[in-house]
C-alpha cells in the first residue's frame, strides 16, 4: 500500500511504523497538499500524512478518516482523533512550522517593529480563530530570541534524525 507524506519527518514515521509492524507502506512523492489529497480520494495513494487543514472537510463528510494528529493536544478540527503520543509514538517530530524571518542585515529597529505589529495581529482573537485554529493551524507567537533558540534546537534534532536514518546529503 502506498502513502504520500509532506516531508522527510512524515516519511520517517512510516519507516518506523514499517519496522515495528512488519508492514510495507511505500512512499510516493507528490507536489503539495492538493496533489496528495487527490491521491487519497482517487485511491492512488490511499494514505496521506500532511497538514490537517487540507482534508478537514473530507473527514467531516466521512470520505476520509483522521487516524492520528501530530500535536501536543488533540486538534479542535479532529477532536476524536488521538495524538501520536496517545498511540505510542511520542517523539514523532513531524510537526511542520511556518516562520517569519528577514534577510540578514535588516535593521534591528525594523525587526522589532515588524515583530510588534505581527504579534498584535496574531494575538487578535478574531484573526486567530478565522485564520489559524479554524484551519487546523496552532498559533505560536514567540520572541525573536525564543524563536532563535527553538530553531537551533530543531536543527540539531533534525541532524540527529537524518543521521539516524542514514540519509546521505544529496
Amino acid at each position: 500500500m502506498t502513502y504520500s507524506a509532506a516531508g522527510i519527518f512524515q516519511r520517517g514515521f512510516f519507516d518506523r511504523f514499517n519496522q515495528r509492524h512488519g508492514t510495507d507502506l511505500v512512499n510516493v512523492p507528490f507536489k503539495g497538499g492538493g496533489e496528495s489529497l487527490t491521491g487519497v480520494l482517487s485511491g492512488f495513494t490511499p494514505i496521506a500524512f500532511i497538514g490537517g487543514a487540507n482534508f478537514a472537510p473530507y473527514v467531516r463528510e466521512g470520505k476520509m478518516v483522521a487516524l492520528a494528529v501530530d500535536a501536543d493536544e488533540r486538534s479542535p478540527l479532529f477532536p476524536d482523533t488521538p495524538t501520536f503520543a496517545e498511540i505510542g509514538y511520542p517523539d514523532t517530530l513531524s510537526r511542520s512550522y511556518l516562520s517569519l524571518v528577514a534577510p540578514a542585515g535588516t535593521p534591528q529597529d525594523i525587526v522589532a517593529r515588524v515583530h510588534r505589529e505581527v504579534s498584535a495581529v496574531m494575538n487578535d482573537k478574531d484573526f486567530r480563530k478565522r485564520n489559524l485554529t479554524d484551519r487546523g493551524l496552532a498559533p505560536i507567537v514567540d520572541s525573536p530570541e525564543q524563536f532563535s533558540r527553538f530553531l537551533e534546537k530543531d536543527r540539531m534534532a533534525i541532524r540527529a534524525v537524518v543521521q539516524e536514518a542514514g540519509i546521505d546529503p544529496r
Binding site: G7, G34, F49, D109, V118, D142, D154
Partner: protein, 156 residues
C-alpha cells in the same frame, strides 16, 4: 599629543553616534514607506499561502502599506530560501519560510545557497498540525486494524 588623540577619538565617536541616529530615525519612523514584499517558499493557493495573504490583509491598516506575497516554490524549498537570503535587507523584504527551508535543508543537501546566518529570526508563527488520513473506502482493512491496534496500545 596625548590630548590631541583623545580629541580625535571623541570626534569619531560623535560621527558614529550621528550616523546611527540618522539610520534609526529614517528606518523606524517612516517605515514602511512603500509596499513590503513577503517571499514564501510555497506555491499559491495552499494552506501557507492563504495564511500569509490573510496576515498581510490584517497588517495593511496598521502599516498603511500592502504586503505583497511573492511565492518562490519548488527546488526542494531551496529556491525560496535563496531568494530571501539574496534580498536587500532594508526591511522591505520579509520572508515566511517553512521548517524544511530553515532547519532541514542543510542536512539533506550538500550544497545550499544559504546558511542559518542568512536570516534574522523574527517569530515562529504557527504549527501546521499533521494528520494521517486515508480514505475510508480504500483502506477499510487498515482502518479496522488501526482501531484494534489503538485499543491494544491504550490498555498497555
Amino acid at each position: 599629543m596625548k590630548a590631541n588623540s583623545g580629541c580625535v577619538t571623541a570626534l569619531i565617536f560623535l560621527v558614529a553616534a550621528g550616523v546611527s541616529a540618522i539610520g534609526s530615525s529614517a528606518s523606524a519612523q517612516t517605515y514602511p514607506a512603500r509596499p513590503i514584499k513577503a517571499i514564501t517558499d510555497v506555491g499559491p493557493g495552499g494552506t501557507y499561502d492563504i495564511f500569509v495573504r490573510a496576515l498581510g490583509e490584517a497588517l495593511q491598516p496598521r502599516w498603511g502599506q500592502p504586503l505583497v506575497v511573492e511565492p518562490r516554490p519548488g527546488g526542494n524549498f531551496i529556491i525560496g530560501g535563496r531568494a530571501c537570503a539574496e534580498a536587500t535587507p532594508d526591511g522591505y523584504t520579509l520572508c515566511v519560510l517553512s521548517r524544511q527551508t530553515l532547519a532541514a535543508n542543510e542536512f539533506l543537501y550538500k550544497k545550499i545557497p544559504y546558511t542559518p546566518g542568512s536570516f534574522i529570526p523574527i517569530m515562529n508563527l504557527l504549527y501546521n498540525t499533521q494528520v494521517i488520513s486515508p480514505t475510508r473506502r480504500s483502506t477499510s482493512g487498515l482502518w479496522t486494524n488501526w482501531q484494534r491496534w489503538q485499543k491494544r496500545n491504550r490498555k498497555r
